[in-house]
C-alpha cells in the first residue's frame, strides 16, 4: 500500500514536470501551427544557464527563473522574427528543417562553451524530503510541481484575461479572420514563440534541480514533450497538464508493477492508442 502510494505520488510529481516542459510546445503549435523541433534546445539552454548562474554566482535555480524567462522570450522571439517568419508561406513541414538547424547550432555552441561532460548542481534543499504520513516526498520535486501548477494558472489567466491572450487565442483559431479583425498577426506569432521558449527555458531551470545536463539533454525530453502535448490536445493547456500527470502515473505504475524497462513503452503506447481511439470517436 505504501509502495502504491509512493509510486502514485512519484508519478504525479514527474507528470507535472512533463506538463511544464510541454506547455511551450503546445502554445507554439497552437498559434503558429509549427512543430518546434528547437524545443529541446531551449530546454537545454535553460538548464545550462541555470547551472552557470548557480556555479558562478551561487544563484538559486528558482531565482534564476527570473533570468531564464526573459532570456527565453528574447531568444524565442528573435528566432521567430529572423527565421521562422520567413517560411510563413511555405509548407509547414519545412519549418521542421529550419528549427532542427537551430537546435544543431545551439547544441554546438553548448559543446564549445561547456564541453560534453555531465553537469549538475547542488542546492541546500537538493536532497531534502518531506515525510507525509508514510510517504517520503522530495522537496525539489514538490517545488517543481508547485511551479508547474503555478505556470498553468498564470498561462490560463493570461490567455483568458489579457489582451495578448485574446489575440493569441484569436490567431490560434483562425489566422486570417484574426488578421481581418485587426490583430497584428506577425507580432502575435513572435510573442507566442517568445512565450513558448520562455516556458521551455524556465522548465530547464526547474529540471536542473534533479537532472544532470549535457548538450544532448533536450533530445531525451523532446519526444516525451510531443507525447504530452498531443495527448493533451495540442493547444489545450489544461489538457496538457492532465496528460502530463496521467502519463507520469502510467509510467510509474508500469515501472513498478510490470517492468522498469517498459515505462517508456507504456507512455508511447498510451499515446498512440489514445490518439487512434479519440480520432475514431470523432469520425
Amino acid at each position: 500500500m505504501v509502495d502504491l502510494l509512493s509510486v502514485l505520488a512519484s508519478g504525479i510529481l514527474v507528470g507535472t514536470v512533463y506538463a511544464y516542459m510541454a506547455y511551450g510546445l503546445g502554445l507554439i503549435y497552437g498559434v503558429l501551427r509549427v512543430v518546434n523541433l528547437a524545443h529541446g534546445a531551449f530546454l537545454t539552454l535553460g538548464v545550462y544557464v541555470t547551472w552557470w548562474l548557480n556555479t558562478t554566482f551561487g544563484m538559486d535555480p528558482l531565482v534564476s527563473i527570473l533570468i531564464t524567462v526573459p532570456l527565453g522570450f528574447a531568444l524565442g522571439a528573435t528566432v521567430e522574427r529572423t527565421l521562422v517568419f520567413r517560411l510563413r508561406d511555405s509548407p509547414p513541414v519545412t519549418t521542421l528543417l529550419l528549427l532542427f538547424g537551430v537546435w544543431l547550432i545551439v547544441r554546438n555552441a553548448l559543446y564549445l562553451i561547456f564541453g560534453g561532460a555531465d553537469r549538475s548542481l547542488l542546492t541546500s534543499y537538493s536532497l531534502e524530503s518531506l515525510a507525509v504520513g508514510p510517504l517520503t516526498l522530495s522537496i525539489p520535486r514538490l517545488i517543481v510541481s508547485a511551479f508547474s501548477l503555478l505556470g498553468f494558472v498564470v498561462l490560463a489567466l493570461m490567455l483568458k484575461r489579457t489582451w495578448s491572450g485574446l489575440a493569441l487565442r484569436a490567431v490560434a483559431q483562425d489566422r486570417e479572420a484574426a488578421a481581418l479583425s485587426g490583430v497584428p498577426v506577425n507580432r502575435v506569432w513572435a510573442v507566442a514563440f517568445g512565450i513558448g521558449s520562455a516556458l521551455a527555458m524556465s522548465a530547464g531551470s526547474l529540471m536542473s534541480l534533479f537532472y544532470s545536463v549535457t548538450p544532448e539533454f533536450g533530445a531525451r525530453f523532446l519526444l516525451k514533450s510531443f507525447c504530452v502535448v498531443v495527448l493533451g490536445g495540442l493547444t489545450n493547456i489544461g489538457g496538457i497538464l492532465v496528460a502530463g500527470i496521467g502519463l507520469g502515473i502510467a509510467e510509474d505504475l508500469t515501472a513498478f508493477y510490470i517492468h522498469t524497462g517498459y515505462r517508456d513503452v507504456v507512455s508511447f503506447l498510451v499515446l498512440t492508442a489514445a490518439l487512434v481511439m479519440r480520432r475514431a470517436d470523432s469520425d
Binding site: 509502495d3 512519484s10 553537469r119 524530503s129 517520503t136 544532470s212 544532448e216 517492468h259 515505462r263
Partner: protein, 409 residues
C-alpha cells in the same frame, strides 16, 4: 528575395564547399605517422568522448616530445587525427574508412561505448589494420579468430565479479552477513547486460553466500527512477548493486537518497569518483563503492606521471578512468609501432601481439594482450570507496587496499 537573387548564391556555396572539400581531402606530408580515431564528441555518448580524445592526445604528445617513433633508423613524429562520429553507429565506420583511405592512418584507436565500437571493429577486421580498443569493454567485440582488434579495457564482467569478490572477502572477515541479500538493477545496454552476466556468474551455485532478491533492468536515459527505488526498498536487501551510466546514476542515487534508503553497501558499477557526481550530489555520494579500471589512488609511477601530466594540461582533478585508459591504449599502440620499426599493418600487429608493458598504469601494473581471451586484457579491477569530503580509497584487493571499507548499518 527574387528567385534570381537566390540562384546567385549557389555558385558561391558550391565554391565554398568545393574548396573546403579539397582542403579536407589533402592527406598531409608523409613524414608523419598517422593514427586515427572516430570518437563520440557529440550525441548520446559525448559526455565521455572528450575524455578519450584528451587521453589519446596526451600519449601522442608525449611520444612526440620524446622525438617520435623510430622507423628504419629515422625518427618520425606521430599525428593523431580525430573525427566526431556523433555517437552514430553508421557514421562511425565510414569515418574509419576515411581515416584509412584518405588520411593514410596506419593504425586506429577506438571510439567509446560498446555499440559504437562494435560497429567500428568491422572496418579494421575487413581492411587488416591494427585497432586499439579502449572504449568498448564487451567481450563480444573480440570475435572468434580476431587478429586486429586489441582490447586495453578489461571486460565489464570483471567490474561485477571484482565487486562480488570484495563482498565475499568482507564476508570472510565476518563484516557482512551470509547469505547476503543482493538487489541488482542494470541499465539495459550492452554494458549493463554484461554486468549482470558477471554478477550471475559469481553467485551461481553460491546460495550460502548470496541471495539475489531483485534483478531488473531500466532503460538508458530514463526520465525518472523513483519507482525503481521504491521497488528496491520493498525487497529489503543488504546491498544494492546498480550498473548505470552517469545521467542515470545521478538520477537514481538522487531518488535513493530522497526515498531515505540505506544499505550496508551501495555500488553503481564504475560510477562514483567522477567530479560531476560530487558536484550534483555532494556528501550523498560518500561511501559509495565502485569498481574501477583505473583510479588515481593507484600507487604506480606511471599512474602518478599520468595524473600530473593530465592535470597540468587539462585541469584537474582527474577522477574518471576514461582518459587514463585511453592514454594507456594509445601509448601501447605507439610503443608497438616503435617495436615494429615499421608502419606496415602486419608488423604493427605482430608487435602488439608480443607487446608487454611492465610500467602500465592499469591495476596489476602490466599490460599485454593474451591470445586466449582474443586479445582483450584481463587485468583486474580495483574496488574503491568514496571518502567523505572527497577523494577515494582503494579497499580491495587486500594487497593494494589503503584501509578497510566503511560498511553501513
Amino acid at each position: 528575395m527574387s528567385p534570381d537573387s537566390r540562384t546567385r548564391w549557389f555558385p558561391v556555396l558550391g565554391l565554398v564547399l568545393g574548396v573546403g572539400l579539397l582542403a579536407a581531402c589533402s592527406g598531409g606530408d608523409d613524414d608523419t605517422i598517422r593514427i586515427g580515431a572516430a570518437l563520440p564528441l557529440s550525441g548520446k555518448h559525448a559526455n565521455v568522448g572528450g575524455f578519450f580524445r584528451d587521453g589519446y592526445q596526451l600519449a601522442v604528445e608525449e611520444a612526440n616530445a620524446a622525438g617520435g617513433v623510430e622507423i628504419d633508423g629515422v625518427r618520425r613524429p606521430i599525428e593523431l587525427r580525430v573525427y566526431d562520429d556523433k555517437s552514430d553507429a553508421s557514421i562511425s565506420p565510414s569515418l574509419l574508412e576515411r581515416l584509412i583511405a584518405v588520411d593514410g592512418a596506419v593504425a586506429l584507436l577506438s571510439g567509446y561505448s560498446t555499440p559504437l565500437v562494435q560497429a567500428q571493429v568491422i572496418v579494421p577486421m575487413r581492411r587488416g589494420i591494427p585497432f586499439m580498443n579502449a572504449g568498448g569493454a564487451s567481450k563480444s567485440i573480440f570475435r572468434e579468430g580476431n587478429q586486429w582488434v586489441f582490447g586495453a579495457l578489461s571486460p565489464v564482467e570483471s567490474l561485477a565479479s571484482t565487486t562480488l569478490e570484495w563482498l565475499m572477502w568482507e564476508q570472510g572477515q565476518d563484516r557482512l552477513p551470509r547469505p547476503l541479500r543482493v538487489a541488482m538493477v542494470w541499465q539495459n545496454t550492452d554494458h549493463g547486460r554484461e554486468y549482470r552476466t558477471g554478477v550471475h556468474d559469481v553467485i551461481e551455485g553460491r546460495t550460502d553466500r548470496f541471495e539475489l532478491v531483485l534483478d531488473e533492468s531500466f532503460e538508458h536515459l530514463s526520465s525518472d527512477h523513483t519507482s525503481l527505488i521504491v521497488k528496491v526498498r520493498s525487497v529489503e536487501a543488504d546491498v544494492f548493486l546498480s550498473d548505470a551510466h552517469e545521467p542515470d546514476f545521478l538520477l537514481q542515487h538522487r531518488a535513493y537518497v530522497e526515498q531515505g534508503l540505506g544499505h550496508i553497501a551501495v555500488s553503481y558499477g564504475a560510477r562514483g569518483p567522477e567530479r560531476s557526481v560530487r558536484e550534483g550530489l555532494g556528501e550523498a555520494v560518500s561511501h559509495l563503492v565502485s569498481a574501477q579500471w583505473w583510479t588515481r589512488a593507484l600507487p604506480y609511477e606511471r599512474s602518478r606521471h599520468f595524473v600530473e601530466r593530465y592535470e597540468a594540461q587539462f585541469g584537474g582533478p582527474v577522477t574518471e578512468y576514461y582518459p587514463a585508459v585511453a592514454y594507456e591504449a594509445a601509448r601501447a599502440l605507439i610503443v608497438a609501432i616503435g617495436n615494429a620499426g615499421s608502419t606496415e599493418a602486419e608488423a604493427i600487429r605482430n608487435a602488439l601481439t608480443n607487446l608487454e608493458l611492465d610500467d602500465s598504469l592499469l591495476p596489476g601494473g602490466r599490460l599485454y594482450f593474451p591470445e586466449e581471451s582474443r586479445l582483450q586484457i584481463e587485468n583486474r579491477c580495483v574496488i574503491v570507496q568514496n571518502q567523505p569530503e572527497g577523494g577515494v580509497r582503494i579497499v580491495f584487493p587486500p594487497e593494494a587496499a589503503e584501509g578497510p571499507a566503511y560498511l553501513g548499518s
